[in-house]
């Protein structure tokens, strides 16, 4: 009756993969393609005192050298505050400063070596909590703390009355949880082939994972109308979220426009690992009020998202996190205070459930601590507090197709945990009153 459901079906691209005939972005070629290499700032934070590309432009085999002066609109990303090529103050180690297109990798690297940059190294900030202090070096002119909606340094979620909730609790449990920087490390490094076609369109073969995520953003950088931009995604050798941020498209495109020749910009493995967006660190401070019977009567979550040097996708992550960090638990008295802070780390990109999984890590460990504090099992506390069908989420949506309890039952089964009768027979559909 069904052709696919319940049956293994071959991947549509599987034959290409096993025979090596799949064409990835870095396999696409054009005759006469120039190689692009980028000069990156060696400091975490610096002032560019002078930048001179005169000699580099005269090097043999060099078709084009660009700095910020050559970029029609030097801001990009979902929140367009990132700099295509560095402005006066650089904000992270490896920030692109200038780019060269030349006949070969060797010619491009020789030209990079002739670019003269004088830096004044500035004090960087790495610890987001230090960055929030009033006397911290201001790494952005707008301040180190993001203002949500342009006004509030805190994104607040409020439900019920947490003071009342804490008063009803038998035990107060507090925990602090942190997550580190993480790099996606896809096997194919980020790459773009850019050229201007016979009709005058700028064509970009891009290792993006979100063509429509970044196309408008790039049109803005090039100051080209969308009908002058042809953006071609392709099969890509892994991305895991890294491909939602632009790392090569803008620079390759600018050099193709400048030189009139096809330009290939592929990151080296070192550049991919060290200078592309990452999962930046998070700090969660959770304070729970728990009754002896395991019911969480109040929860306060303070979140600090270290966004790195530019917003990139950090705001998206912080907003998602604020909505979901309190977990799949019905908590009547809740407060979430989210801060997004800028440091001199790499910008915060998307990576595998960005903003969500990090919060769940903190929340799930906190639940175990809550359970221990009142002497019940880790499973029990999850059943006792689980959302049921038609509950109202922490940000006000009515929840449909809730399956927390059924998921827990499945997890217990797989883990070989035998549940007590009341949890084995519990259902998300039936609410105990």
């Amino acid at each position: 009756m069904f052709n696919a459901i319940g049956k293994p079906i071959p991947r549509y691209d599987g034959l290409g993969h096993v025979t090596g005939r799949t064409i990835y972005v870095s396999d696409v070629t054009m005759p006469g393609t120039l190689t692009c290499k980028v000069l990156r700032c060696p400091y975490y934070r610096a002032r560019i005192v002078s930048l001179d590309v005169t000699q580099a432009k005269r090097m043999p085999g060099v078709y084009g050298v660009i700095t910020r002066e050559d970029v029609p609109y030097n801001r990009f990303a979902m929140v367009p505050d990132n700099h295509v090529l560095a402005e006066e103050i650089t904000r992270y180690r490896g920030q692109p400063v200038a780019a060269v297109a030349a006949v070969s990798k060797e010619a491009a690297l020789d030209a990079l070596a002739k670019i003269k940059v004088e830096y004044e190294e500035l004090e960087p900030v790495f610890d987001p909590e230090k960055a929030m202090e009033p006397d911290a070096p201001q790494i952005r002119p707008e301040g180190n703390v993001h203002l949500f909606d342009g006004t509030s340094p805190v994104r607040r979620v409020r439900r019920g009355d947490i003071e009342k909730g804490f008063a009803e609790a038998d035990v107060i449990v507090e925990g602090r949880y942190t997550t580190p920087c993480e790099e996606h490390a896809p096997l194919e490094c980020c790459s773009t082939l850019a050229y201007v076609d016979e009709s005058g369109k700028l064509v970009l073969y891009s290792k993006t994972q979100g063509v429509y995520f970044v196309m408008g953003d790039l049109a803005n950088v090039f100051q080209l109308p969308m009908n002058k931009l042809k953006f071609i995604g392709n099969t890509i050798g892994g991305s895991f979220g890294s491909g939602n941020s632009v790392a090569t498209d803008h620079i390759a495109g600018l050099l193709a426009l400048k030189t009139g020749k096809p330009v290939r910009y592929t990151l080296t493995r070192a550049e991919e690992m060290m200078f592309t967006t990452i999962s930046t660190p998070w700090i969660f401070k959770i304070k729970d009020g728990v009754r002896r019977d395991g019911k969480i009567t109040a929860r306060h979550v303070e979140v600090i998202h270290d966004c790195g040097a530019f917003t990139e996708l950090g705001l998206y992550a912080a907003e998602k996190n604020a909505n979901l960090v309190a977990g799949a638990n019905l908590i009547e008295n809740l407060a979430v205070d989210t801060h997004m802070v800028f440091t001199n780390k790499l910008p915060s990109g998307s990576r595998r459930g960005f903003g969500v999984n990090v919060g769940q890590f903190a929340e799930q460990v906190q639940l175990d601590r809550d359970a221990r504090a009142v002497g019940i099992s880790p499973m029990a506390i999850r059943f006792i507090n689980a959302f049921h069908e038609d509950d109202i989420s922490h940000v006000g949506n009515r929840l449909r197709a809730v399956s927390t309890i059924e998921t827990l039952q499945g997890v217990a089964d797989l883990a070989g945990i035998s549940l007590e009768e009341q949890y084995r027979t519990m259902s998300s559909k039936e609410v105990e009153k």
């Binding site: 293994p8 071959p10 991947r11 691209d13 599987g14 034959l15 290409g16 993969h17 096993v18 025979t19 090596g20 005939r21 799949t22 064409i23 990835y24 870095s26 396999d27 070629t29 996606h184 490390a185 896809p186 096997l187 194919e188 490094c189 099969t235 890509i236 050798g237 892994g238 991305s239 895991f240 080296t268 493995r269």
Partner: protein, 166 residues
């Protein structure tokens, strides 16, 4: 200044002009235009560029092009039959091992060289043999199980000779 290097590529004698500092990977991809060997790290860490050099699996980014003079190089294209699939390819395909597929050419080449050397391996030996090939999608278990199925004869015998008509 480019220099000439002569070798047998997928059964066919070839002569290629390369820079003396070029790697085998650069020669295959940039001079000859074979894109099945992939560049993942260019440092011998990831194995995506694995090819056979005189029937041994090597990371082509670590082999200087000039050193293959007079030798035999086989890429994935050279073991892919003109009709159908090689048993390892068939197993990878049917078991859905490739996800993004970027590591797959290297995996096939590493597995093929290994099974010719050790036709009846244990699962542990297979995992050890593939440990030089990174897969960031995390398909290691499926790749290893697929190679075990090939070793158990589930996909027919491994071809002894090489296809000559690439």
């Amino acid at each position: 200044m480019k220099q000439m290097v002569s070798f047998v590529l997928n059964g066919i004698p070839v002569e290629v002009a390369v820079k003396p500092e070029a790697t085998l990977l650069e020669m295959l991809r940039d001079e000859i235009g074979l894109t099945s060997p992939k560049c993942g790290c260019n440092h011998g860490d990831c194995g995506a560029c694995t090819v056979h050099l005189d029937n041994q699996a090597v990371k082509s980014c670590l082999v200087l092009a000039m050193t293959v003079q007079g030798r035999e190089v086989v890429t994935l294209d050279g073991i892919t039959p003109s009709q159908g699939l090689h048993p390892i390819q068939q197993a990878f395909y049917e078991k859905g091992a490739p996800q993004c597929g970027y590591c797959t050419p290297g995996m096939v080449m590493a597995a093929d060289a290994f099974l010719h050397r050790n036709p009846h391996p244990t699962l542990e030996e297979i995992k050890e043999a593939l440990s030089g090939n990174l897969c960031r999608c995390g398909s290691y278990e499926k790749y290893a199980q697929a190679v075990l199925a090939v070793a158990n004869g589930e996909y027919g015998p491994l071809p002894e000779g090489r296809e000559q008509d690439v």
